[in-house]
């Protein structure tokens, strides 16, 4: 049965103790007493500066630039790298990997194809480590090599992941060494079993 997790939407600053939404009167610097739970907390309030998006209208341009495909009044500043649509600065979805229109950006993002926009991924390093640990446990049952192979498979993926993030790969390399030992121990175990059954040890 699928587990349903109810996630409360974040609406803005709230009391860190009772999670009651704070109105703008209560967002201030100093010791704040929550109006709901009457408990205190230390706070530092900020007013985020509003960035002004500079949008050039078509009429304002001297040479009569192309209009944005989504906003007819706005002058296009670039074109989408994927579909070639002319887009204005409002529609320009650029996160350091090129300019895309909102539709293409959403499609690429949902497929984790855009670098820097992936918000979900599998932790292959932990999977490799746990497989290796399970392998050590099952080595005594003669099937540790299966987990060793699995650990090597995940470690390969994990190494690629850690390298792309610029993180240390030392731990995962140690996991790989142990996984290789598990595989070798498994092979040795079954070779010994076969030799013993065939009477080679006598």
């Amino acid at each position: 049965m699928a587990q349903v997790q109810v996630v409360r939407a974040y609406e803005g600053p709230e009391c860190p103790r009772c999670r009651m939404r704070l109105t703008s009167d209560w967002i201030r610097t100093g010791m704040v007493v929550c109006p709901d739970c009457n408990r205190t907390f230390e706070a530092t309030a900020f007013t985020p500066p509003q960035r002004r998006m500079r949008v050039v209208e078509v009429m304002a341009t001297v040479d009569g630039s192309n209009a944005c495909a989504n906003h007819a009044r706005n002058a296009a500043v670039t074109s989408c790298q994927r579909c070639g649509l002319f887009i204005c600065s409002l529609c320009d979805m650029n996160v350091g990997s090129g300019s895309y229109c909102p539709t293409c950006f959403e499609r690429l993002r949902s497929g984790n194809e855009l670098k820097g926009t992936a918000t979900r991924y599998r932790d292959h390093a932990t999977m490799a480590r746990n497989s290796m640990l399970a392998g050590i446990f099952f080595t005594f049952a003669g099937i540790g090599f299966v987990f060793g192979v699995l650990a090597l498979f995940y470690a390969r993926k994990g190494l690629r992941q850690l390298r792309s993030e610029g993180r240390s790969t030392f731990g995962l390399r140690m996991v790989s060494i142990f996984a290789m030992l598990e595989v070798l121990a498994g092979i040795a175990f079954w070779v010994l079993v076969v030799v013993a059954i065939s009477g080679g040890l006598d």
Binding site: E14, R17, E42, T44, Y121, R122, M127, R160
Partner: protein, 186 residues
């Protein structure tokens, strides 16, 4: 495949029975990694979006209740065994309950320091059970970084606004010296 900027620093954690959150500091803001078994989801609180940073100390009621339940269980077992004249077994159960008492005592004395960063779209929570000075330092660092980023953006906006303002066409200055009247009836 994830792609994160390599320059990030671990600044805090928030672990509950259901989830584990790790908070990293990046040049742009805070990055929160929520682990659900082997799936990691990531969200960010940008410094330029921060509205409120809070700091408080709490007891952690759930932790206290769970430890109290554990302690009561072992105390109950001990008292039952003692009443049955099984003193050694009773003492063993009594000893097993001691870690729960110690955990509760430590928590009651130290409490948990919580730093919460509220942005426009998301928030980051960090719990510090033992490192009180570190909690204070993280709170100060985040506030300083937010202030710095906000100041930078304000300067940027001001510079852009100044560049946008075209110089007004001023009327010609009046001639120097006394103005001679051109009115023939004067």
């Amino acid at each position: 495949m994830s792609a994160r900027p390599p320059e990030r620093r671990l600044i805090g954690r928030f672990t509950t029975a259901a989830s584990r959150e790790v908070v990293w500091e990046t040049p742009d803001g805070l990055e929160i990694e929520t682990r659900d078994q082997y799936d990691v989801s990531r969200k960010a609180v940008l410094f330029e979006d921060v509205q409120l940073v809070t700091y408080h100390r709490q007891l952690g009621v759930v932790f206290f209740i769970l430890n109290a339940v554990g302690m009561l269980f072992f105390l109950m077992m001990m008292s039952i065994l003692m009443s049955m004249k099984e003193n050694v077994a009773g003492a063993v159960f009594g000893l097993l309950g001691v870690p729960f008492v110690i955990a509760m005592a430590i928590r009651a004395v130290l409490k948990v320091d919580v730093v919460t960063v509220f942005g426009r779209r998301s928030k980051a929570v960090m719990h510090f059970s033992f490192k009180k000075q570190r909690a204070r330092q993280v709170y100060g660092t985040i506030c300083a970084r937010v202030r710095q980023v906000h100041r930078q953006i304000e300067q940027q906006i001001a510079a852009e606004a100044a560049a946008d303002v075209s110089p007004l066409e001023t009327p010609p200055a009046p001639p120097f010296g006394p103005i001679e009247s051109t009115n023939p009836f004067a």
